[in-house]
Amino acid sequence: MKTLSKKIEITESKWLYRKGTIINTKMMTKTEKWFDIKLDDGELGHEPGQFVQVEIVGVGEAPISICSSPTKKGSFELTVRAAGKVTNQMHKLENGDRINIRGPFGRPFPVRQMFGNDILFVAGGLGIAPLRSLINYVMDNRRDFGKVDILLGCKSPKDMLFYDEIEKWSKRMDINFACTVDKSDPDWKGNVGLITTLIPGVNLNPERTYAVVVGPPIMYKFVIAELLKKNIPERHIVLSLERHMKCGMGKCGHCQIDHPKNYYCCKDGPTFTYDEVKDAKKL
């Protein structure tokens, strides 16, 4: 006699969700929407640079960078570009809607190593989202760091994310802020040109500077070349790479970096120092 197939519940499954409520949203640009999310079970418990998996029931999951600093208590924030199946569905969510989260996942930015050093932030496009978790962390612990420079680039003024916040940064006396757009419009009074044009003008001490760079693959190529010209050591250039993290647990294989070394973006990253991943053809 055979034992019959039994259905057993797995209460400790890593695939189960933390539930939360969307407490605030804002359309930032035509394609990017910002969400403030409060979890039922308390704090998310993340560090700057980590990501979460967002589940829209019946549609699927998408990995999204956390754009708020852990110094902000009570809720956490995501900025989502409508690009795929899940993110397009997510854009339909409003205040009060429920949402399911797994995470946080990934290796955070090396915050403790950065203490006492000068920080140069370079953000391109949507790269400002993951970088903002660290920028706000540094702002909230400003005394723990040396000189802070923020360079920001985006396609056009209307593509700029966190506009109000960026305006505040530009007025602060304890940071140096510069911003450029690839393509101007009539109201724009700032710089026009690629973000690489801003780097030569930054006055920095390469021995004690961490450059934290987040943007699309093409930007990494040119920005890193400029930073190396400034003699910043490769291990002081910190990146956050984009891959399709499907499971977040170092198993499904989708986010593995095309590199001679074994790097899973979801567990070994998404933050890497340039010396770790410089052999990858596409960052």
């Binding site: 034992t3 189960l16 699309p216």
Partner: protein
């Protein structure tokens, strides 16, 4: 080490005895020289001499489609569960035992995969020794998977009219005890030792390069032209990864039931050979070229797992080469790479 003896004429009794406690699956003929693991109820359905089955026994530990979560949208209820039954996998060759061990390493790595681990608890594995090569595609001696290295409850070796059974777990011992199988005599043991000695003459490193050198050879070959040669034949069908006993990449998918209120999250096998495997929603594809994907597959067998787990994730079963419609042969790739890296 404990050894027992099972007369070949009593094989059916052995299977029937297992059937009292569990479902039994074993290699069976499928036609056209192919074999598959499938459910059996008697010994005469089993192919005792077989070349590696189309799919490895990983399908019982990590099914092609596996429900991970049931959800109900209205009350936000998620339940993770598995449908499990006690199952015996009979007649597993040493290459596939090694494959199951590889999967076990990965899914035990934190965070652990509860589905795999719970399934594993209910699997009773009976190994079966290959006294000679299955065919020319195998490269088990390269990775030392032609000999048993654990991973089973019982292990069968054909010594003529009898099987000598090595007992490796208490559960295996209990089964053997319940059948009152005789202990192996010293002459049986020396027969086994002779078979192992003979195997040393038959099974020789198939590529002429020590496996220990492969990680270094691959590192040197990262930018080799050989990957493009391989890619020029490859049609990205993903057969090589589907039949691989150590490939475990997967995709997750939400399925909504017709009531539009309930549904399930399903895990399915995926393949790094598919063009969209490393593509992100924004449009960027991080392994766009077929050559990058083929290189990735080989690195995932002989380089990455060595760095991470100090173990090759190739068991030498030869399935990838046997099944490839374009005639891509793993042994040939390894030989070419090692020749090239000498210069």
């Amino acid at each position: 080490m404990k050894y027992h003896i099972l007369e070949k004429k009593n094989l059916d009794l052995f299977i029937k005895n297992m059937l009292k406690k569990m479902k039994v699956v074993a290699p069976c003929e499928k036609g056209n020289g192919n074999y598959v693991f499938k459910e059996v109820t008697s010994a005469n359905e089993i192919a005792f001499k077989y070349i590696p089955t189309i799919l490895p026994p990983k399908k019982y530990l990590m099914p092609q489609r596996e429900k991970i979560i049931e959800f109900s949208m209205e009350d936000e209820k998620f339940t993770s569960y598995i449908e499990n039954e006690k199952i015996a996998i009979f007649g597993v060759h040493t290459c596939d035992l090694s494959g199951i061990q590889c999967l076990n390493i990965v899914f035990n790595d934190k965070p652990v995969d509860c589905n795999f681990l719970m399934r594993k608890e209910n699997v009773f594995i009976v190994g079966l020794e290959c006294n000679s090569y299955c065919d020319e595609y195998a490269s088990c001696a390269l990775v030392n998977a032609h000999l048993p290295n654990g991973g089973y409850a019982l292990f069968f070796t054909d010594i003529g009219d009898r099987y000598i059974i090595n007992v490796n777990t208490q559960e295996g011992e209990d089964l053997v005890e319940s059948m009152k199988l005789a202990n192996a005599s010293s002459s049986d043991i020396s027969l086994l030792e002779k078979i192992r000695e003979d195997k040393k003459k038959i099974f020789k490193n198939e590529i002429g390069v020590e496996a220990a050198k492969l990680p270094e050879i691959l590192e040197k070959s990262y930018n080799s032209k050989i990957w493009e040669e391989v890619a020029s034949k490859c049609i990205s069908c993903g057969n090589c990864t589907n039949v691989c006993p150590t490939c475990y990449c997967f995709d997750m998918e939400d399925r909504v039931n017709l009531d539009l209120k309930t549904g399930e999250r399903i895990r399915t096998w995926d393949s790094c050979q598919f063009e969209t495997f490393a593509k992100v929603a924004g449009g960027e594809n991080f392994r766009e070229e077929r050559s990058m994907r083929q290189r990735h597959r080989v690195f995932r067998k002989f380089k990455f797992p060595v760095d991470k787990y100090n173990r090759f994730f190739c068991t030498g079963c030869g399935r990838c080469s046997r099944t490839c419609m374009a005639g891509i042969n793993l042994k040939e790739i390894l030989v070419k790479l090692s020749e090239e890296s000498k210069f």
